[in-house]
Subunit: 123 residues, 2 copies
DNA sequence: AAGTTAAATAACCGAATGGTTCAATGCCAA
DNA sequence: TTGGCATTGAACCATTCGGTTATTTAACTT
């Protein structure tokens, strides 16, 4: 019931789980820029963008600077390498997945449905 | 202003953002198994595991079957390919990151008076 | 000194998460 | 048929998330 120490991957993956944040990263791939320029494509208040930036910062995906009244954001893609490194361990599964899954689904479809939720009546 | 249609990547990345679910995937990499065997390593109630499985299912990462009173889970790693495909677009950034980031941090720490507005375009 | 602009904070809100317990369902076995 | 096991469902709870508006801080501009 206490919370476990959040893994770095938790922060990285959950930062990537939001389309706004992925779009921000895409913009930052074009170069360092200010918060208001980052906010511009979204119809969203400034503070909302600030919060997204905090999430990205917590994940280590951006580095913030200070220049006059601006707080420029710079992409730091290093954590994305951690994410891919984790995903790499599963590569063989999606490469083999045709065989394995087809085999499994074949077996299941002979006597079952793909339905899972909903009230399951006896058959 | 309400919620935008959730991207597939949203579901995939947020499924991966939890250590319990990553552990479940790791176990499933060893082969199809039942819910209670999946639950065994965790100090967590059954329904909690069921909820995690629903999240994984929503992300398309597992396929559920029926076998007597068991509901076996099988890994489907295909969505992980989508995730890596997305991440691949940033590979060059973490490969170059030494140069770019060092350069940036150097620049910021020595003299913080470079213009950041419209860094990649003329204003 | 006053005003403008960039951004962050604070306080708030509704919805989603991650967990719980207790009850129901489906399936097998004695 | 009765009982037990595997699993899900329902209701509940605390926390987090993603957004809002209003206020505040900081730096430039006039």
């Amino acid at each position: 019931m206490p919370k476990m120490t959040p893994d770095r991957l938790d922060h990285i993956f959950s930062a990537l789980a939001d389309p706004t944040r992925r779009a921000i990263l895409a913009r930052l791939a074009l170069g360092t820029t200010s918060v208001s320029e980052l906010a511009e494509p979204f119809q969203m208040s400034g503070p909302a963008v600030t919060k997204h930036l905090k999430v990205l910062e917590r994940a280590g995906l951006i580095i913030r600077g200070r220049e006059a009244q601006f707080r420029p954001c710079t992409l730091d893609a290093a954590p994305l390498k951690e994410a891919t490194d984790w995903l790499e361990r599963y590569r063989r599964f999606w490469e083999e997945s045709f065989d394995r899954l087809e085999e499994y689904l074949q077996e299941v479809q002979t006597n079952g449905e793909k339905d899972v939720r909903g009230s399951s009546r006896d058959k």
